[in-house]
Amino acid sequence: MNYIIDVNGLRKEFKSHASRSGLKGAFRDLFTRNYSTKTAVNGISLQIKPGEMVGYIGENGAGKSTTIKMLTGILTPTSGTVSVNGMDPHRDREQFVRSIGVVFGQRSQLWWDIAVQESFRLLKKVYNVSDAFYETHMEDVISTLNIEPLLNQPVRKLSLGQRMRCELAAALIHNPPLLFLDEPTIGLDVLVKLKIREFLKKINEKYGTTILLTTHDLSDIEALCERVIMLDEGNIIYDGALQQLRENWGEGKQIQFVFSEEVSLQTLQQLTAGYLVVWEQGDNGASWTASIDDDEDIISGVIGKVVSSIKIIDLKMAETTTEEIIRNIYEEGAIRNG
């Protein structure tokens, strides 16, 4: 199997010195320094096939950005091997970056003062893209992203959503087979997010572009990625299908009852004595949540027992959201059956 990203035992350590406090401490720092080594990425291995869309998630400081920066050739790994598009990103940097596109949500690729179109033209020159290819390819990208009316405006006059769409277009000028997106939807409104997701799906289908995406917004991942890689304190704690993650972790269902009068916990427990139910009180004595296994017999049994003896005003069923699942995982720190 040919992998587009092949990483083995990748490690990155940062050395930093801790300053001592006070003037005396500052003097001592001049002569002997307390160096401490912080491991940002702790020997991870991962393989990604061409055409995959992979979500790379983790809390702040988990090592996501550091990994992305090593995969894009910005940082040199402390140890381990990286092969992306068959090249060593840091060693063959100038050759290598021709084969990738990068969008950092918090950093602009475009020139602030000049029109978007001029930025594109400079990048076209930088990537040495031929006129013919540029015309046909960019026309397609521009019309799909719907940025035609923005082309003559300077970047500083664009809204964040408009800028982000232009950034995406800029990253695709040379039609790279691999696209790195670091927080591409940060701070965007729902509509723009949807547009961007749609666009990413489309280029993935049309050009077979492999996409590695980091985000805090799990709905991005749900909408785009079949596979997630989860990072915690520099280690990969989960690598697999999103669906499986949900099945393993989102095992429960929750039923929220709002009764017409206050009900005691004891009454409820007696009513559902035959089932495994955890009752939790909501805002007041009349609202209760039952956590149960995702099983049709139990669900209908519990509902049946309760509604047959207590009057209800409202009833809601909720599945554990991916966000809750992820939170649970981080709280427990490791993956079961992972």
């Binding site: 940062f14 950005s65 550091t66 920066k69 894009t72 050739g73 910005i74 940082l75 040199t76 840091h90 940097r93 100038e94 050759q95 970056v97 021709r98 990738i100 990068v102 950092f104 918090q106 950093r107 602009s108 690729q109 020139w111 003062d113 000049i114 001029e118 033209r121 400079l122 020159k125 930088v126 990537y127 040495n128 670091d182 927080e183």
Partner: protein, 261 residues
Amino acid sequence: MSYVSIFFQYASQYLKTRLTYRADALVEIISDLLSQAVNLIFILVVFGHTSLLSGWSRDEMIFIYGFFLVPFALFGAFFNIWDFTDRYIVKGEMDRILTRPIHSLFQIILERMELESLFGAVTGIVIMIVSASQLHLTFHWYDLFVFLLLAFSGAMVYAGIFISLASIGFWSDSRTDIMPMMYNIGNYGRYPVNIYNKVIRWVLTWILPFAFVGVYPSAYFLGKEEWYTYTYLTPVIGIVFFFISLFLWNKGVTKYRGAGN
């Protein structure tokens, strides 16, 4: 030769932007001219009190100053890297630079160029022509090429020193005042080095070779044969210092730590 065409693309884009802010560019050129005038007046004031300074006459001093302005203008136009650490390391702009398929230093030169500084070279050449006619200097046809070679070498000395200093930023991004200090030291290069004490002369020749930007190359045109050895060394020093700085830069890029998000 794609670097050349990329350079022209950037330069034309630069001019386009500059032309929309014409007033800015004009103010910059005028303020450059003013500071050059102040420096000239300083030389004139000194020679109001004496006619020779360590064997150099007033017009020779002015000629050296005029020559110095040419490499300095080249340097100022293309190596605006005095705020490199702040702008590229601390703010993490280097991330963006490193994701593009051009040598990182070349990209920074392209992004930071200030072509209006080149106007200083015009001033310098005018000053040289005026003082040369005062001194009744004669030139050969090949002196033009010697001049170009020496001016470029001087600019490389300057660039080498400042690129090396900027490279420090890859290892340590703490604030230092070393850049402005170096600009001040650089100014010593526009006066003949034998007016300084021995230690300073040695430093300006071998450690921070700013003397190769002004006095040593000018000595050739002024016919000061006792300095010719240094004149011939100028291209060598320029190349050596520039390559040392490139080496440091390339080494530094591998040490780049990035800025946290």
